[in-house]
């Protein structure tokens, strides 16, 4: 039984682990695809004025409702505007609206949530009941009502969306902060006599950023979709402006000329899917349990 004298090197045929790239691809493949789509759209949005073949609002009524050709890759719409150019310019507005709403909403909501979790008592009750009040309306309907009241326009639509957007971040921020609050390092910070503002900024907030980043990414697609939805209903942008939702609306009744509505729709689809893949990947990557596997 003194088999233990066998030198370690004589271990029978150590099985090689599966190639790393294959596991990586299986785990992160969709995330990279999503990331590539998102990056591509961001580039398009930034470069739109230089890469689009026609000005987005240039009307050419003679060539209206042309199917896709070499001159007009994605065809032309009712007023003879180039769908491809409008699509590229639409990306600017959609992404801008999406990022603005989600980032501002996350900033406002998280602040409210963390303050509520830290203060507890009456402040917690007041802030969270306000959150509940907003959440109990269907978001699109409420945003519609607010946008209609404020008047049509990109800025007003974004404002209306912000009003319905922050509460979910407040909820999440509060839940995450409550978890952090009971951690021993937050107690340790209290024992060290640090000020609440410092504890919130240095200890609680940084540790809530991971899950928040996931929700922000997943939510970007959602916000873009909602913005397009509001535009589709005629509340988003002032008419000549190129925007995906309003482009779909313009093509809504054109059954023969499918390209007018289909391409902006496809653009919305890819952006939303891209952000969702990204968010899923980010969640997997941030999950410490899944990481080592």
């Amino acid at each position: 039984m003194s088999a233990s004298t066998i030198p370690a090197a004589a271990t029978p045929a150590m099985p090689a682990p599966r190639p790393r790239w294959r596991r990586r691809l299986r785990r992160y493949g969709p995330a990279w695809t999503g990331g590539a789509i998102v990056i591509a759209w961001v580039l398009v949005a930034v470069l739109a004025p230089w890469i689009s073949p026609y000005p987005p609002d240039a009307q050419d009524v003679v060539n209206r409702l042309q199917p896709p050709t070499t001159a007009h890759w994605l065809g032309t719409d009712v007023l003879g505007r180039d769908v491809f150019s409008r699509l590229l310019h639409g990306a600017r507005l959609s992404l801008l609206a999406g990022f603005t709403v989600v980032l501002l909403g996350a900033a406002i909501g998280t602040t409210v949530g963390i303050v509520a979790a830290w203060a507890r008592g009456i402040w917690d009750e007041a802030l969270m009941r306000l959150t509940d009040l907003v959440l109990c309306f269907p978001p699109i309907i409420l945003a519609l009502a607010i946008a209609a009241a404020l008047g049509i326009g990109t800025r007003n639509t974004i404002l209306a969306m912000l009003v319905v957007w922050w509460p979910k971040f407040a909820r999440l921020g509060r839940a995450l902060a409550l978890v952090q609050r009971s951690q021993e390092y937050v107690e340790a910070a209290t024992v060290l006599g640090l000020r609440p503002s410092r504890i919130l900024a240095r200890h609680i907030l940084p540790n809530t950023l991971g899950p928040l980043a996931v929700l922000v990414t997943l939510d970007l697609g959602n916000a873009i979709l909602t913005f397009a939805g509001l535009s589709f209903l005629g509340l988003g942008v002032v008419p000549p402006t190129a925007e995906w939702g309003s482009m779909v609306a313009e093509g809504r009744e054109l059954v023969e000329q499918w390209w007018v509505a289909a391409f902006p729709g496809l653009a919305i689809l890819t952006v939303v899917v891209g952000f969702n893949f990204c968010g899923d990947g980010l969640r997997d990557w941030l999950d410490p349990k899944g990481r080592s596997r």
Binding site: A8, T11, V191, L192, G193, R202, R293
Partner: protein, 685 residues
């Protein structure tokens, strides 16, 4: 079937070993390469034998257990060796055969009784389930037997218990249920992986007693895995000490405890404080950490940390050699049969007698904390959790006071009350003569530097997103102790040197450290502001014994050098005895006994202290197994809180006893102090 467990009469001959393990090798396939978790482990367990496997975390003891019962999943893989169970090749078993064998002939009990049971299935079905699935009992008979098994395992009111769900039970009760499940099919071998680690010391004594009875009455062979040699010593005749995936010593438990022949076993034995060690004896700790499992050193794996190493140790890997009849060790130093020298006895620390009449540093009077609990019904009043119920405590400058008790006795709440993390419900707290009972956060802030705290969990008490230098510089900058970042940085390096951390580690994040190193960071953070009093809430309970000895020695040393006072909260009596001048024993939110550490553990006067000290798993200790469990803190018992479990309770105990001084410096809350002594007479000495 009358429900009793019949003695084993098997098809197997009495002399066939139950389990033979030969050169077992298990690896974890990771991105960085194959980690050899178990590297050539061999042992034999005969029928009715008891074998303990001991080692620190990461030594491969649990992986060995999981390998034995083939419960490993990818990326772990058994790559070599043989496991024979009653002559059958376990490694060759497949699918149905394996399932049939597992839980029938060989059973396993896991560490965590909280997650080991399915929360949505009633106890009865969980106990009968595999009796039926292995075809050993009809459902009707299985039910009768399940209730009988629960009774045998000491579950109170087994009929009612069988119909309950797991969440209705405490950890100790669940571990009994797990044991009942384990032995339901009369296994020949029971593997218990740290079965008592999550339990309190009195409950642990009950479970260990059960294991001993199983072995004695039914001849079940037991493999007990634990990090605690004391636990193994109370159950197992033989022990295998594991280090870095290898068995480094295998011998009778008694022999290892008194005369270890491998330096690692020697370190394990001497790192643990014992209740009967001479007063003032220091703890022996070895420096360093276990080797990198990816590239273990070429020579002896323990050589880099070994205090006895010779030239040969660095180059030649020692085999497991017979060093004395019946005992084997993997060591060149003891290969010729020499014993290892006893650890150096530290010179007794200069006993500091606090000046009489000195004003107390910390003084708590009638301290109480009640937490709101859940509502019983929608309109009903909230239940009240009585965490702390009137504690008087005095701590003089330079003194170390220990607070011991089982989980739920309110000791951690007490720590958070005196540091004012919680606001007391009643009573007063005075720190350096100032009443801080109702001080606001802003009023506390200037006092905080003098009153610091070290927390239990080294993983949760450091902000994972801050580097060590930022963690340590933060209090300095926040309190204006350092004007500039550069000034703070130089102080941080001083602090790191004080607690024995290398300066180049300042830029690391907490997750890059081991548990013991993190606890050093925690201590450094507490010291940053030059405190007068450090409240330490179980600072070593999450650490391996050797690391525990390192951290305790560091804290003792700091106490001398920086003239600190400690309020030391712990559940481990021997640790408290080694560390503290005075000790207070808590039960159900009250102090039941208080006195000088050495005297209190040598001659406990309160029956609870007697039971607590006797439950400590040290071999040769006369045990008083305390029945039952502490009552709920939702409804406090009237009279003496210990009455329900007290072996000498009398009608007079219906009146609550005051915490009265019975000898100079000793206070006991008992009507009959000293009336209850364990059968073996005086404990310790």
């Amino acid at each position: 079937m009358d429900g009793s467990l019949p003695a084993r009469t098997g098809a197997t001959a009495a002399d066939t070993p139950v389990l033979e393990v030969e050169d077992l090798r298990t690896v974890f396939l990771t991105d960085a390469g194959a980690v050899r978790a178990v590297d050539g482990v061999s042992f034999t367990v005969g029928p009715g034998e008891t074998l303990g496997i001991v080692g620190e975390s990461g030594s491969g003891k649990s992986v060995t257990a999981l390998s034995l019962i083939r419960l490993l999943e990818e990326p772990a893989r058994i790559v070599g060796g043989a496991i024979r169970f009653q002559g059958r090749d376990v490694l060759a078993m497949r699918g149905a055969e394996l399932r049939d064998w597992r839980g029938d002939r060989a059973a396993m009990v896991f560490q965590d009784p909280m997650t080991g049971l399915n929360p949505v299935i009633r106890i009865l079905r969980q106990v009968t389930e595999h009796m039926i699935s292995h075809g050993r009992q009809t459902p009707a008979k299985a039910r009768v037997r399940a209730v009988e098994l629960l009774r045998r395992m000491g579950v109170a009111a087994p009929e009612r218990a069988a119909a309950s769900f797991p969440h209705q039970f405490s950890g100790g009760m669940r571990q009994r249920v797990m044991l009942a499940i384990g032995v339901a099919n009369d296994p020949v071998l029971l593997i218990a992986d740290e079965p008592t680690t999550a339990l309190d010391v009195t409950i642990q004594a009950q479970i260990l007693d059960l294991l001993r009875n199983l072995n004695a009455e039914f001849g079940t062979a037991i493999i007990l895995i634990s990090h605690d040699l004391g636990v193994i010593g109370t159950v197992c005749r033989r022990v295998a000490v594991m280090y870095a995936g290898e068995v480094v010593e295998e011998a009778e438990t008694e022999a290892v405890l008194t005369d270890p022949r491998h330096p690692y076993a020697w370190a394990l034995v001497n790192a643990v404080p014992r209740l009967d060690s001479p007063p003032g004896a220091g703890l022996t700790s070895i420096e360093g950490a276990p080797p990198d499992a990816l590239n273990p050193p070429a020579g002896c794996r323990f050589a880099p940390r070994c205090p006895f190493k010779i030239a040969k140790c660095e180059t030649d890997h020692p085999p497991l050699m017979e060093v004395a009849p019946g005992r084997r060790a993997r060591c060149w130093v003891t290969a010729d049969g020499r014993p290892l020298p006893p650890p150096p006895v530290a010179a007794e620390a200069a006993a500091r007698t606090p000046e009489p009449g000195a004003p107390p540093l910390l003084e708590a009077t009638g301290l109480a904390k009640h937490f709101p609990g859940a509502r019983n019904s929608f309109f009903g009043p909230r239940a009240v959790v009585h965490a702390v119920n009137g504690v008087d405590l005095r701590l003089v400058r330079g003194e170390s006071v220990g607070v011991v008790g089982e989980s739920g006795c309110g000791k951690s709440t007490l720590a958070r009350l005196v540091t004012r993390l919680h606001e007391p419900t009643a009573g007063t707290v005075r720190f350096e003569g100032r009443d801080i009972t109702r001080a606001s956060a802003a009023e506390m802030r200037p006092l905080r530097p003098r009153l610091q705290m070290v927390f239990q969990d080294p993983y949760a008490s450091l902000n994972p997103r801050m580097r060590v230098r930022d963690i340590l510089a933060e209090p300095l900058l926040a309190h204006g102790r350092a004007a500039t970042r550069a000034e703070a940085d130089s102080r941080v390096l001083d602090l790191m040197a004080t607690v024995g951390l290398k300066p180049e580690w300042a830029a690391r994040f907490p997750h890059e450290f081991s548990g013991g190193q993190r606890q050093r960071v925690s201590i450094a953070r507490a010291l940053a502001l030059d405190p007068a009093l450090v409240v330490a809430d179980e600072p070593v309970s999450a650490l391996d014994v050797n690391v525990q000895a390192q951290v305790l020695n560091l804290m003792l040393d700091l106490r001398q050098r920086l003239s600190l006072s400690y309020l030391f909260i712990a559940h481990d009596l021997a640790v408290v005895r080694a560390f503290c001048d005075r000790v207070a024993v808590m039960y159900l939110g009250r102090i039941v006994e208080e006195g000088p550490a050495i005297a209190l553990f040598a001659w406990p006067l309160h029956p609870y202290t007697v039971a607590l000290t006797s439950a400590v798993p040290e071999p040769g200790r006369e045990r008083v197994i305390l029945g039952g469990e502490p009552p709920s803190t939702l409804r406090l018992p009237t009279g003496c809180v210990f009455r329900a479990r007290c072996p000498v309770a009398q009608p007079a105990c219906e009146a609550p006893p005051p915490l009265a001084e019975v000898e100079t410096g000793r206070r006991v809350a008992c009507h009959f102090p000293g009336s209850f002594a364990p059968p073996g007479g005086k404990l310790g000495g």
